[in-house]
């Protein structure tokens, strides 16, 4: 069964809200990392609209690094986000989702890849840096925010019962 794509307005609205939360949760790096992963991996990718997703991912990367005020040379996270969101969009178009389990599995794979790419790109841009625990919390809480994003993007059909 092929799921219908979420509406564009809804997706952009969620992306905007999540981006704002990423900026606002700067004092809480773990929460910020989770929101960042949610935005990049789950909310931004959209098959057939790679540019808008790429822009959201790039914005998320710049906002995250800008609020961290940690790296001497910014841009690594944005580049990794861009790469991952393009890959995720391509995968969404190439292999359409069929359920929550496949969605979580895809998110897990993309999460691991995203963590590695972020650290590699940041290492290229800013040099060696501590890894922190954000990537681990993102993976650990993946079922939670994966399910949440699934419900937000693909709400259950209205059964008519109140």
């Amino acid at each position: 069964m092929r799921l219908p794509a979420p509406s564009s307005l809804r997706q952009h609205l969620f992306c905007g809200v999540t981006l704002a939360l990423v900026a606002l949760t700067a004092p809480f790096p773990v929460i910020q990392a989770i929101l960042h992963a949610l935005l990049v991996l789950a909310l931004a990718p959209r098959p057939g609209a790679a540019l808008s997703g790429a822009l959201w991912a790039v914005a998320a990367g710049w906002v995250l690094e800008g609020t961290l005020r940690l790296y001497p040379h910014l841009g690594g996270t944005a580049w990794a986000n861009l790469t991952v969101v393009l890959l995720a969009g391509w995968m969404a178009g190439r292999w359409p989702l069929e359920g929550l389990r496949s969605w979580l599995a895809r998110l897990a794979g993309l999460g691991v890849l995203h963590g590695l790419l972020v650290h590699g790109a940041v290492r290229l841009a800013a040099g060696p840096h501590p890894w922190g625990w954000g990537w681990l919390w993102s993976l650990l809480t993946l079922p939670l925010w994966g399910w949440l994003s699934w419900r937000l993007l693909h709400p259950p059909a209205d059964t008519g019962r109140r």
Binding site: L51, H73, G75, G76, W79, T83, A121, L124, A126, G127
Partner: protein
């Protein structure tokens, strides 16, 4: 079938792809330009710029060397001009001082001769020469005003010159030894044979009254004998130039040692000097002893 050229136009998806590619490449480039990469790029650019920097440094050194050389050349030219001017001044000064220097040298030589003759010698300057004329002589700048009298002997360090022939109030005239009417008592140094000198002119003279029995060699020195009471014994007159046998006497011709044509200052012997004088014992020039440790 006619082919119709389709109008080339980018689609919306194409523009989006281009924007994505540019966005991804721009971020990638920016990431690769990070501090470590920047350092690598810096090293690479530094390595690439090293040859041009070397050339620029060499060029700057060359320009600096040229400027220094130009300055040195200018300074050298200025020094050369200054040295040339100084050299001209020195030459001019030397030219001006040359007569005085020659006179001083002559005075020194006369003073040296005066030390060897224990007599009251006077000095006079030759102010004019009439030697080229017949019976010519040398004119001195002193006369009766300085107590000169006739027949005073005149000599220079090289030898005798002649004797005073006439003395006026302020000047005197020398009868040179090569004048025909000059007569100086002489003796040969080796044989001690005596004779009378008779001038032949041009710095030559003939010794009269030397016996045929005497042995005279060419180059033998001829000294004054002191018998004429004008010159004491032992003053150099000249050297034998030619010896020929005569009927009764030897014909001995000698070259006077005194340069009669180039005399500028002379010494005057006192009138009627003793026949023989002993030269004083002069202390040899003692060199100052070197102190130990001095260079």
């Amino acid at each position: 079938m006619a082919l119709r050229a389709s109008r080339w136009r980018w689609s919306r998806a194409g523009w989006q792809r281009l924007a994505l590619v540019l966005l991804w490449m721009g971020h990638g480039t920016w990431v690769l330009m990070g501090p470590p990469s920047g350092q690598r790029w810096g090293h690479a650019s530094e390595a690439l710029a090293r040859p041009s920097q070397g050339l620029a440094a060499r060029w700057a050194e060359r320009r600096l060397a040229q400027r220094d050389a130009a300055l040195s050349l200018t300074e050298l030219r200025a020094d050369r001009a200054r040295l040339v001017a100084e050299l001209e001044q020195v030459r001019l000064r030397a030219t001006r001082e040359a007569p005085r220097q020659a006179e001083a040298d002559e005075a020194v030589r006369l003073l040296g001769l005066k030390k060897h003759i224990p007599l009251d010698l006077g000095a006079a300057r030759v102010i004019f020469s009439t030697r080229p004329a017949v019976f010519g002589g040398l004119i001195l700048d002193q006369g009766l005003d300085r107590g000169l009298v006739q027949d005073q002997g005149v000599l220079v360090p090289e030898g005798i010159v002649g004797r005073l022939w006439s003395v006026s109030a302020t000047q005197s005239k020398i009868l040179p030894a090569d004048a025909p009417n000059a007569s100086v008592g002489v003796m040969l140094m080796r044989s001690r044979a005596t004779g009378v000198l008779q001038g032949l002119g041009s710095g030559r003279a003939l010794i009269r009254y030397v016996s045929n029995q005497e042995v005279v060699q060419v180059g033998e020195a001829v000294l004054t004998s002191g018998l004429d009471r004008v010159f004491p014994r032992g003053l150099l007159v000249g050297y034998v130039a030619e010896v020929t046998q005569g009927d009764l006497e030897l014909r001995v011709i000698l070259n006077l040692s005194a340069p009669l044509d180039r005399v500028s200052a002379v010494l005057l012997l006192p009138p009627q000097p003793p026949v023989e004088v002993q030269p004083p014992l002069l202390a040899p020039d003692v060199k100052p002893a070197k102190k130990r440790g001095t260079p």
